[in-house]
């Protein structure tokens, strides 16, 4: 029927980026199973998918009491040894019966939540952007915990180079004419509504994680630039505040790196509007220009001082 997910993204709580082997060790703790790592074009390490059982209310724009039971798939990942994500999703399907089944039934369908009773797909999809009620399906809470597990690893020194909020991206994917809509809600909340042709594949979840990652990078860079108050503070002070962006963020921008070719058109469409990469590039230029101006001023000051 449709698939819902939520991705949380944050800065890994370590002073520097961690090497591939440490990424493995950190994620290993989560599951004991094999961690998957890809190295090109950027080191990306991901835990295997883990299941969480749920029996709860489902989102509904009309506030109907829709119940569902089943399992959610979740995983933690680390990109570039620097950015950490907790991601969860589940396919919502109609149940063959109106009665709650034993857990063995749901465990045989990992990553599926079956709706008990009648439901309209549109009503579910329209309701998903709202924060869930106390007894509602809360994919965000699950993803946050998958992120916590990584952040609290004893292998990390917890001396992150700057403080930054996590962002959350809630997504829903339906079948139909291909389309994508990305919406910024609060400072930390985003939603994506995506329509795809053919069956849902996990590649859609990969795409949403990739979008979440880049949206976080953009958000973090904006925050760092705002804190630097370019023009409002003396040059050297602004330069010091911009430095963490250069040290830790600028090299991480690799849109579509892990996105299936079939889905890369979605990224291209978002790059046209709202224009993620354009905005990123202009911010990067701004940071580099600032640092260049500051370096020039510094050199001039030094040579002036030497002449006296």
């Amino acid at each position: 029927m449709l698939v819902m997910g939520e991705v949380h993204t944050g800065l890994l709580q370590n002073s520097g980026e961690i090497p591939e082997s440490t990424c493995r060790d950190v994620l290993q703790l989560l599951s004991g199973e094999r961690v998957r790592v890809s190295r090109r074009p950027i080191v990306y390490a991901v835990s295997p998918d883990l299941l969480t059982g749920v029996d709860c209310r489902l989102p509904s724009a009309s506030q109907s009491r829709i119940r569902g039971a089943g399992t959610v798939l979740s995983r933690s990942s680390i990109t570039g040894g620097r950015v950490v994500q907790g991601s969860s999703y589940t396919r919502i399907e109609r149940s063959g019966s109106d009665r709650r089944q034993p857990w063995s039934h749901y465990l045989a369908r990992p990553g599926v939540v079956e709706v008990l009773g009648k439901v309209k797909s549109r009503d579910l999809a329209d309701g998903f952007a709202e924060d869930p009620p106390a007894d509602g399906l809360d994919l965000g809470a699950i993803s946050a915990r998958f992120l916590d597990v990584v952040q609290s690893s004893p292998l990390l020194d917890r001396r992150a180079p700057f403080k930054i909020a996590r962002t959350r991206l809630r997504w829903v994917a339906e079948q139909g004419e291909p389309a994508i809509r990305f919406t910024l809600h609060s400072e930390q909340m985003r939603t994506v509504r995506l329509v795809h042709t053919g069956e849902f594949t996990p590649a859609v979840a990969d795409l949403c994680e990739d979008l979440a990652l880049h949206d976080w990078l953009l958000t973090a860079l904006l925050v760092i630039i705002e804190r630097a108050r370019i023009g409002g503070t003396p040059g050297p002070e602004a330069a010091v505040k911009l430095a963490p962006a250069v040290d830790h963020l600028l090299h991480l921008w690799m849109p579509s790196a892990r996105v299936d070719d079939v889905l890369s058109a979605y990224w291209e469409s978002l790059d046209r509007r709202p224009g993620f990469t354009r905005q990123w590039q202009s911010l990067v230029d701004r940071v580099r220009d600032q640092l260049a101006v500051h370096t020039l001023a510094f050199l001039r000051e030094k040579s002036g001082g030497g002449a006296r």
Binding site: A144, R158, K163, R166
Partner: protein, 305 residues
């Protein structure tokens, strides 16, 4: 950095002073948040002038969150957008985020420290530390389960820096009581050691803050008779001696806030506008908050005693 605000008694000025420190710290360009853990009397909403949470929140507050009552995340209030005070409703250029996590309206003290509650507390501190430069926690007055909970939580977060501020008034009773809260039987040091802190290391992370201090040479006292002024001087000297005997003296004091008439009338933040434009507050008071907001993160002020 986590800062825990505690006092031996209620009504010492702990909430008013700690909220003003946090506000000043935000103005100094830091992202800060304030946690109202004084579950018995959640007043922080009123001090930040956020009417909707003046006596705590009716949504999922910290109390619900810690007790696991259907709140995966506690309610957050962005003071720069939600305050009813005109002058607080726009973030000044260069200021950081200022976020309040209110307690529950009608919450009540924690009944005990269950493992699950402690786990949630650790998770909360850990997430907030990721996001904010400074997390100020109003722990409530006296020996409480809340104080025990945060002492235990900080044992489990060995790499998250934390400090304690003990607020007290400048009177005989308060000086003795503040010392007792730290060094007395089952005080902070006893309890902290029981939970796994090292006594001396914990001692180094505790400083005192004197609230509503009337200096004998203050402008307010100009109209006093000579006899009265002489008596006040003698009193003040005696209190200083008492304070240093109780190790609440100058070396372990982080700062003092002068008595300010407007704070006697109303619990509120003192803005620069209150000092410069409407002139209802004293410049010395704002300066004292500003100074403390710097000292809480200034390592030199926290070197071993």
């Amino acid at each position: 950095m986590l800062i825990f605000a505690i006092s031996d008694k209620g009504g010492t000025g702990r909430s008013v002073t700690s909220t003003n420190i946090v506000y000043r710290h935000a103005l100094q360009g830091n992202d800060v948040c304030y946690l109202d853990f004084d579950f018995g009397s959640p007043t922080a909403g009123a001090i930040f002038s956020v009417g909707s949470v003046a006596r705590g929140t009716t949504r999922k507050g910290l109390h619900d969150y810690l007790l696991g009552e259907g709140a995966p995340e506690p309610h957050r209030v962005d003071v720069w957008t939600e305050s009813d005070r005109e002058g607080l409703r726009t973030k000044p250029p260069g200021a950081g985020r200022l976020v309040l996590l209110p307690g529950n309206e009608g919450g009540g003290e924690l009944p005990a420290v269950e493992e699950e509650t402690l786990r949630r507390c650790v998770q909360l501190f850990s997430r907030l530390d990721e996001e904010f430069d400074l997390v100020m926690v109003d722990v409530s007055a006296g020996r409480s389960f809340t104080a025990e909970m945060v002492l235990q939580a900080t044992v489990r977060l060995p790499s998250v820096p934390f400090r304690w501020l003990v607020f007290h008034r400048w009177t005989r009773q308060h000086i003795i009581a503040a010392d007792g809260l730290v060094t007395g039987a089952d005080g902070l040091l006893d309890a902290g050691t029981r939970f796994g802190h090292k006594r001396d290391a914990l001692r180094d992370r505790i400083r005192f803050v004197r609230t509503a201090v009337l200096e004998p040479d203050a402008a307010e006292l100009v109209g006093l008779r000579d006899e009265q002024r002489a008596w006040l001087f003698a009193c003040d000297t005696e209190l200083r001696e008492l304070a240093s005997r109780h190790k609440v003296g100058r070396t372990s004091m982080l700062g003092k806030i002068p008595l300010d008439p407007i704070l006697q009338w109303r619990e509120q933040l003192i803005s620069d506008e209150d000092v410069l434009a409407s002139k209802i507050a004293n410049a010395e008071t704002a300066a004292a908050f500003d100074d403390l907001a710097k000292k809480i993160v200034d390592d030199a002020a926290w070197e071993g005693l």
